[in-house]
């Protein structure tokens, strides 16, 4: 058809996608719908086989199998009581510092992040074990909730992370490399969060009063050490077994995830929390999240393949390469768009649609694809902490005991400084790209 010029396809597909998504109908449908409608107008019946082949490829994608495995693992660990033990042991060690309990929340968030690929599990665990204690000890509600949200959100950045598992194939980057690239930024953010809490509680002691040693319970140094060892060592073994295997190149992420899933069941039994009913419940929520992401994956690849076949790729490419102001202006624009989209649209949709379209252009702009991937992913960290689509807030509200009297405005007030810190972190990654690239270069 004459009217189906690449320009028309590009603008038309994105408009349909955009308005369809904004109606609030499940995200996957307008993405895939825009794909099949334009595909049919462009290519007629042959789009049928094209869509089916893409959907088939997603449903047999070995890499994506890590998604249910890591979701399962997170659900099991959530039920293992591991976070409670860890919190109790770190509480007696660091509770007497100003802001110590909030720092411990970040610390546990970081450790859990290294064994879980999702944020839901970390945030609900922290909300259950850390929030009541902080509120009882007179911590400011904003600081308490903010540190839980920020610490828990690290779960999807620090490997293993399902976001990286999804990003890798979309950008033709190995997931193992992405995992290693994410370590630096993840630990950097964790440290920045802790520094912020320490400084803030030093300047405003009333926000985060220290806990007296009588309240902590008088433990001897030996008791403290043994508590820390029994709570941390099994977790660290889990982390090493999963990440070590990937780093050393022994196992693919999916294989490591399978090991992690089994080890998480074993850990849960070790702590005496094993119930078959729990496994089935975890399996159920795993199904729901897996199907959700697979439908978006299937629909997005239909969209992207029609978009590229219709000539949309060249339009985007020439638009980006001719963008006034050079590559850093393009970079700033992409970051701004990602941030705004991230505040409204689920990250799965953003990565599946935008990354395959943008990725071929990134090296031509002169950016390292691995570094660029990390910038997008850290940027999306902010989206979990930015209303209205702040996942962290929903999970915290869902898990928090109503008796604590946490209100939405407390959480928003608490999260915003951490959004600022992520922005600072992005700046640091621009100035020191080695934070991203060093570890993967040693693989």
């Amino acid at each position: 058809m004459d009217m189906m010029t690449p320009e028309f396809v590009t603008i038309g597909m994105f408009l349909v996608l955009f308005f369809g998504v904004l109606t609030g109908y499940p995200l996957a449908a307008p993405i895939g719908g825009a794909g099949v409608i334009f595909g049919f107008l462009l290519f007629g019946d042959s789009v049928f086989d094209m869509v089916y082949a893409r959907v088939y490829a997603q449903l047999t994608n070995t890499g994506f199998m890590a998604v249910p495995l890591f979701v399962f693992m997170g659900g099991m660990l959530e039920r293992s009581g591991i976070a409670k033990r860890m919190y109790e042991s770190l509480y007696v060690c660091f509770g007497n510092f100003r802001g110590g309990l909030a720092i411990v929340s970040i610390l546990i968030g970081t450790i859990m992040a290294a064994c879980i690929g999702v944020i839901a599990a970390s945030i609900s665990m922290l909300t259950l074990v850390a929030l009541p204690v902080m509120i009882q000890r007179g911590y400011d509600k904003g600081l308490a909730t903010g540190s839980i949200c920020a610490g828990g959100t690290l779960g999807i950045l620090i490997p293993p992370s399902i976001m990286l598992i999804v990003y890798g194939p979309a950008a033709w980057i190995s997931v193992g490399k992405l995992f290693m690239a994410a370590f630096g930024p993840g630990l950097m953010l964790s440290v920045l969060y802790m520094i912020y809490i320490a400084v803030r509680s030093f300047l405003q002691p009333s926000m985060a009063p220290s806990v007296s040693s009588a309240e902590q319970g008088n433990y001897t140094t030996f008791q403290k050490i043994s508590m820390v060892v029994t709570s941390l060592v099994p977790t660290l073994l889990l982390i090493l077994s999963v990440l070590g295997a990937i780093y050393s190149g022994i196992a693919a992420p999916t294989e490591a995830a399978a090991v992690g899933a089994v080890v998480s069941i074993m850990l849960t039994s070790l702590y005496g929390q094993f119930r078959f009913k729990d496994i089935m419940e975890v399996a159920q929520s795993t199904i729901k999240l897996t199907c959700m992401v697979l439908l978006i994956a299937a629909c997005s690849t239909a969209f992207v393949s029609v978009f590229l076949a219709g000539g949309g790729g060249q339009i985007v490419e020439s638009f980006i390469l001719d963008f006034p102001g050079g590559k850093w202006a393009v970079f700033a624009a992409i970051m701004a768009v990602t941030f705004i989209l991230g505040a409204f649209i689920d990250w799965v949709g953003i990565i599946f649609v935008l990354v395959p379209i943008l990725s071929p252009i990134i090296p031509r702009l002169g950016f390292d694809p691995l570094w660029f991937a990390m910038m997008i992913i850290v940027n999306l960290q902010m989206s979990f902490l930015t209303p209205p689509f702040a996942y962290a807030m929903f999970f915290l509200k869902g898990a928090a005991d109503p008796a604590l009297g946490i209100e939405t405005k407390d959480i928003i007030r608490g999260m915003l400084p951490f959004v600022g810190i992520v922005a600072v972190g992005l700046m640091l990654l621009i100035i020191f790209p080695q934070i991203v690239t060093w570890l993967p270069s040693t693989m």
Binding site: Y25, G33, L59, Q284, Y391
Partner: protein, 186 residues
Amino acid sequence: MFPSALRKIIITIDRMSDVVAKFAKYLILGLIFVLIYEVVARYVFNKPTIWALETSQMIFGAIGALCWGYTLKIGGHVRVDVFYTMFSEKWKAIVDVVMTLIFLFPIQYILIHSGIKWTLFALKVNEKMVDSSWLPPSWPFRSVLAIGFILFFIQTVSEFTKNVYFIIKGDRLIEASPEYVKEGLV
């Protein structure tokens, strides 16, 4: 008379999706088992299997396709609800009906049409899955996918009917499904 028959059909469809999901829970455990078996066989006994790759692909694909309908039923497909939450119940139903017609039914039509076509093709030429040297026939997996697409369509029809009924009559055909709870893959 008419609504009660309709109600029965809708309830039957919803139950069917629940049963499929219950079965799929065991598939999740099966997926973990197959993958861990392969890891142990390969790295501990140095004897990799030839069947684990395709078997895990079949299980994974089956979970995905078979439970799309169930996930729709329980409201698990994530929405951008910035505006959606501001709509009245009736407008939510109208949005869902219109969007189903424009976007979801066409996708499902394509999936079912090609799904059946490729299953028949696989049967006819005895197509194999060729990712490893195991070479299992592909028609069983392709037919499970086609069944999954059909189940997805049937559940969509159920949701569609519930919404149309609500728009016309102003009350729910069956007890309202649980309210949409934001829970993405994070």
